[in-house]
């Protein structure tokens, strides 16, 4: 079970995740995007999902990553991600509910470059019973 005391809390993630041009190039290649000067709109999920995994699977929160299904996703992109961005990451657990034995957790990821908020995203993650 996910610890209900974690709801409403913001957890710090990595202090510096540096975006490389080769990561953007690889992501663009899969979707046949020829303009690699900025990252595609969903690129930041690469950072957010790995941050969620390291934060949410901590024993004090208790998400079982092996039973996870992605329910929905939203991005608010204040400016495009570019190579050389150095992100400080955080995850906020906004809500937790149980439906048919599945735990449904809504979590927000904020990616800051210095004091600039570049992308906020929201994910609903379902931990299957």
């Amino acid at each position: 079970m996910i610890n209900p005391d974690s709801v409403g809390r913001t957890f710090a993630g990595a202090d510096s995740v540096t975006v490389s041009q080769s990561e953007i190039d690889a992501f663009c290649a899969v979707i046949s995007e020829s303009n690699t000067t900025v990252a595609p709109p969903t690129f930041s999920i690469r950072i957010s999902l790995s941050q969620y995994e390291s934060i949410l699977t901590q024993p004090e929160i208790g998400v079982d990553w092996t039973r996870l299904v992605h329910g929905d996703q939203k991005f608010e992109i204040f400016r495009p991600v570019v190579a050389g961005d150095v992100f400080k990451c955080s995850a906020t657990i906004e809500s937790l509910r149980v439906a048919a034995g599945n735990e449904i957790v809504s979590v927000r990821s904020d990616l800051h470059n210095g004091s600039e908020l570049v992308v906020s995203s929201w994910s609903t993650l379902v931990v299957r019973a």
Binding site: S50, Q73, E76
Partner: protein, 131 residues
């Protein structure tokens, strides 16, 4: 002339297992349900399925192309209602279309539709672009 109700031209992407492997590497999501048929079936899935986020990335490409580039996409959201099923040695379709729902100055809200094999795979899919 873009106005509320304008329907965008449909686009069909084709997905195969090699693309799922490439997306897994590009995104860092190596969940075996997207690559290993035996594993996918063992957890109750009909076959290997595409990452929901890969589907969303392709729809994001469709939106970017219409808006004049990825930098024009300001908001993007979707619900993963059904999986895109990707059998071995086959290419499956992801058919995408959109309608202009709101115009507020240079901000345009698109309501998006995405299906595969005739089944709707994204729900509540929307994007806000600057154009």
């Amino acid at each position: 002339m873009i106005q509320v109700g304008t329907v965008l031209e449909e686009h069909i992407f084709y997905l195969d297992r090699a693309m799922l492997k490439a997306y897994a590497d590009a995104s860092g999501d190596q969940n075996p349900i997207h690559q290993n048929e035996e594993f996918a079936v063992s957890v109750g899935l009909p076959n290997v399925i595409a990452h929901g986020m890969f589907t969303m990335a392709l729809v994001g490409k469709y939106v970017s192309d219409w808006a004049g580039g990825a930098a024009a996409v300001k908001e993007f959201s979707a619900r993963f209602v059904k999986p895109v099923i990707v059998p071995a040695d086959q290419k499956v379709d992801l058919t995408v279309s959109a309608t202009v729902s709101e115009i507020d100055g240079n901000r345009i809200l698109l309501t998006l539709s995405a299906s595969s094999a005739g089944i709707k795979v994204l729900g509540m899919a929307k994007a806000v672009v600057i154009k």
